[in-house]
Amino acid sequence: MIKQLNISQILVYYDFPEIFVAVDSVGTNYLCLLVATDNGNTNYITTAISNKRLSSFINGSTDLRDIFEEPEIKQWFTFSQVIDSIEAIEWNEASLPQDFLPEKGFLYHKQLQGDELILNEVIEKRNAVVHLAVSDSEDNYSIDADNLGDIVKLYQVIIENSYKKSLIQRNIKDKKQYYIPPNYKLRAFASSYSSFNLHLYSTSQTDLFGNAMIEMGLEKFDEITKDFDNEEDFIAALRTVKGHTISSLKKLVKKLIDNNIKLKHKWFAPNQDKVHFTIIDKSKAEKIYAVLNLAEELAEETKTFLGYFVQVDVEKGTWRIYNLEDEKEYSGEATGQSLQGVTVETVNYKLVCQEIIEELKVTEKEKTKYVLQTIDKAE
């Protein structure tokens, strides 16, 4: 009997993929284990594994040896080639030889106690999962709908902008392909108790090692909402995302302060070996808010345009420019006499503007406003 499998996630890598998960044509998981690398060949064994047992292995609760010594279905396969797909051949013996079995005591992780739910969800979604729990002083298990809507929206904006800022700072080739909404947008799929706990999952791009692109945004959120003793270090962390992320963070912590809301942020992704967890209660929110007020310039975002004016109204202080870089038109405002004497259409200018996102309302789209700061003729 031959089974066609495809690699889904590499769990352990040591010169070669040592342990990985593969799936068959109907979505059944198989745990694959490298048993030898001889004479230029690899030799793997594999056995079917339920989501529950796989979760237990990844959670650090099930020993690797047990999975192969006592499989849920007493059937093993072996294969040597791992190209696009795997052709696994049934092992026609009653048991596996000792050489093929790991020693007792191989646990994938240190046990992640109490986090089985999020771990199972990550396995099911094959991507990052976030639990965003909110509670106010009135009730630990429910939340005002308006507040919930605002908090979720602000959280999503922070993740999006943090992700984009992190991506800029990383040494990654061909970045353009990663600026896509699935890499920063989250989808809600469940809720549970323990405050009002909203479960969100990502459809972010992942590699075979389970690294999900959205993790850059999630890690950054933790970094800018962490406990801190040293204000300077915290401001330095905030500077890495200055602009829209900070203005949204300021709105978020203000919301938590004004409504005495506690926010719990928990996330896990397939490549992680721990569940990340941060709490922002009113006192922490006040501490963050105070720092954000100290460094007002952090919330400012600048945008530079290079192109020619399509329309200028000096009296009203409005302008529209064709930006050569992305071949789009943008309009904005100007104060004073800064537009006096500019030439329309035939001369290229470099405009540095302050970018302002209009006050957020959950049901409305955001509006971006550009206020001209400096203008120079382009060389």
Partner: protein
């Protein structure tokens, strides 16, 4: 100019790899004392192996861990039973490293100047 222990593909090691400069890593060897055989990459061991998502550049690197427990855990796997763990204090001359794939796992592109005789085995 670094003299690599094997011929590397173009643009390898990646731009974001860095000199280890005194960092300590762990790797397995068949038995003490370690030999050249313990420092062969996937590509050197298996010229035709090809795994999706494992770049050709990575296949020319060696896996090392910055966490001894994660390295020792491997000794329970069939391929590594009976092996020993080595402690590697890598200098800038020993090559370039990059954290890859999983927490605590690094890919190491080794230079010819790395001196195997200085390696200590820990387990």
């Amino acid at each position: 100019m670094k003299q690599w222990s094997e011929i590397l593909p173009d643009q390898c090691p990646p731009d974001n790899s860095f000199e280890p400069d005194g960092l300590v890593f762990y790797r397995l060897c068949a038995s003490p004392p370690p030999t050249e055989e313990d420092f062969k990459s996937q590509r050197a061991n298996c010229p035709t192996c090809n795994f999706n998502n494992v770049s050709e550049c990575i296949t020319h690197s060696l896996s090392v861990w910055d966490d001894i427990d994660k390295c020792l855990n491997l000794l329970k796997l069939p391929r590594h039973k009976g092996k020993a763990a080595m402690k590697l204090e890598l200098s800038s001359n020993d090559g370039l490293v990059l954290q890859t794939f999983k927490p605590n796992h690094y890919s190491w592109w080794r230079t010819k100047s790395f001196d195997i005789s200085l390696v200590t085995t820990t387990q």
